[in-house]
Amino acid sequence: MANEQTDSVTCRINGIEVTVPKGTRIIEAAEQAGIGIAHYCYHPGLSAPAMCRMCLVEVEGAPKLQPACVTTVAEGNNILTESERALESRKGTLEFYLINHPLDCPVCDKSGECRLQDFVHAEGPKHGRLLDAKVIFGQDDFGGNILYDGDRCIMCTRCVRFMREVAKDDLLGVVQRGHRSVIDTFFEQGLDDSPFHTNIIDICPVGALLDKDFLHKARVWDLDHTPSICPNCSQGCNIRIDTRDNIVQRLRPRANPDVNSYWMCDYGRHQYEWMNASDRIEAPLVRAGDRLVAQNWQPTILALLEQLKQRAGSVRVVGSPMQSNEDNGLLARLGSVLGATTPVYRSTRAADEVVLPGFPKLARRRELAANGRGLEALGFDRVGDDRGQGGVTATDVLIVLGDELADLPADFGRDASLFVYLGHRLQPAARNAHFVLPVSTFAEQEGTFTNFEGRVQRFWPALQPPPLARPAWQVLGVLLAGLDDGPAPADAANAFLRVGSHFDTFAGLTYEMIGTRGALLNEPVAIGAGGGD
């Protein structure tokens, strides 16, 4: 194919023709052609030192095999990644990795997602030839969340380069030389104070770097993986929630070049135990005198609708930045239909944000909840202080979604004529509610969050909620239907469209458009402003 532009090149990789911009490396061009090239030290988010020697490929005309991670594609190259020479080279290199590698698979956390296992299984030698003693290093606690096993380490130096180039916190280095070389910190100085250091366990291809939090917790092949959005601040890092037996075992980052690259912060990564809280509201509860009595949904909804139609006095609606756009959007609509004052929400904010120096788009933002920006776009006002306290007073009719009201006195809402609480756990203040409706957390439903810069991102359900809990948008949708404000949305996608029909900021967006990468809100976005301020 003729290249009119001089800044693109065409080559063939395993017979597949591919045209790429000049300067593209073979490994990147191959990815475009759908061909994966085995590698360890290369990582698209880091520099490429070409030292693991796994990615050596045959380039017709070159006498030696070329490292695909640094060699750029030239016009007319014929590249073979599966030729006999390339296969032999990979097999030989894998053998070198195995000779000092301990047979730890039965006790290694990485087993099941280990790149050494994967490549050896695919192309490695079937039997070992080492008859002599292996080199031993032992384990080391690097401080922070990291345990290091020197025997398993394949010296790819991804961790060193991540700390140096991305976290810009030079805390790891290679010490010694040759076969005695190993990764270490500066003696007792550890990784404790570096807020992004746990990312090194994701990029470590083997089980040399382990998260103390996940140590010996679950086998990887028992885990279910669900794409989601980190709820712990307004950055909206794309994550994967890994669960087993309906319990969240860990969070992992998911790549999104517009939001978080390949990374996430340590704070967000380890804030998941709240999703596993088991003291949940089990069933809809209706007040009968001093007691809350469990009931089925239908009579509860009917009773609530009666109360709503007969309401008197001022109406206030309180949302939650930990709940989705769909939940909060339909709550705001309900408030509007009922003639409520401006809806409000409260959120915790840290003193400052913590930026990842090597990828400044990513920071642990000040607002420690996912959907503050979404709430603002839905017309909510933020009230209360930076500890998420105060700002809420009881009124005649009070509808609270998600906010646990933990700071409010135990008699809060006792004087309200109608107090509806849609939540997860029964905090003391909420016990004064007339209707307590169990709803799912974000992890238990499909929905969207809007991050600090106005990016709407989808998440999927990772957990089963308690059997009688429902997504808040579903409950609110039914209530709206009962108030003759349109049919109840049947699924989250329609709930989202319904929100867009009431709020211009969300108009025109659909789940298809958002996809897995997110889409910006219709209103102009000023990145850097907002974001928790």
Binding site: D170, L171, L172, G173, V174, V175, Q176, R177, D184, T185, F186, F187, Q189
Partner: protein, 226 residues
């Protein structure tokens, strides 16, 4: 001082440095007037004497680093390189010259002085053989046992040193006088076996020479506070 020269298997007479005479030769013996026979405390001019990885016999493990004339040398070294990182190896040499080895505190101090991270300095210091990561004796005896010297009896010379000092390789004698280690090729393969003691080369060493060499070193040792 007893005459050191014995019948040399290599057939070559010793010259300066080969029989350990280098430090004792007068300037007239070697060349001209201004031969630098002792370590230059001041760095002199242009690039001539930046810093060497001296293994001085006289060590001051508690002396402050980079003060006085050493501070001047540090600045002179810094001026020879386009950035602070380039000066790292010479500055580590300077630290080892004063203390005799590089401790964790030394690496930290050098890192601070040059604006580098401590773990980076540790990585560089542990890469190179000549930086001592532990204290060594007054005399660091490095016997080349690489192939050319090996063909001419280096293993026997090493054994002789270990026997006469009563140590294992890398171990320091009880009186702190000697540490004997094996070294890789010292670049004097025509004069086997080559032994480097601190900054001097002893060439054409045979096992028979070992007691005399050790005796001479004991006589020359500076009095150290222990």
């Amino acid at each position: 001082m007893a005459e050191q020269k014995t019948e040399l298997r290599g057939g070559n007479d010793g010259w300066a440095g080969e029989r350990g005479d280098f430090a004792n030769l007068s300037e007239a013996d070697v060349r001209g007037e201004s031969y630098v026979g002792v370590r230059p405390l001041e760095g002199r001019a242009a690039g001539g004497a930046c810093s060497y990885p001296y293994q001085l016999a006289e060590k001051h493990p508690d002396a402050p680093l980079f003060e006085g004339p050493y501070h001047e040398r540090l600045e002179k070294i810094r001026s020879r390189y386009p950035d602070a990182q380039g000066a790292l190896l010479p500055v580590l040499n300077l630290a080892q010259e004063i203390h005799g080895w590089l401790s964790q505190a030394d690496m930290d101090r050098v890192a601070e002085e040059l604006g580098l991270s401590p773990v980076y300095v540790r990585g560089v210091a542990t890469f190179y053989t000549m930086y001592n990561k532990a204290p060594v004796g007054t005399w660091l005896v490095q016997v080349c046992t690489n192939v050319c010297c090996n063909l001419c009896g280096a293993d026997e010379v090493m054994k002789a040193f270990l026997e006469h000092t009563g140590t294992e390789p890398g171990e320091t004698t009880a009186d702190g006088a000697f540490t004997c280690i094996e070294a890789e090729c010292l670049g004097a393969c025509g004069f086997p076996t080559v032994v480097q003691v601190n900054e001097r080369y002893f060439e054409n060493v045979t096992p028979d020479d070992v007691p005399a060499i050790l005796e001479r070193l004991r006589r020359e040792a500076p009095k150290q506070e222990r």
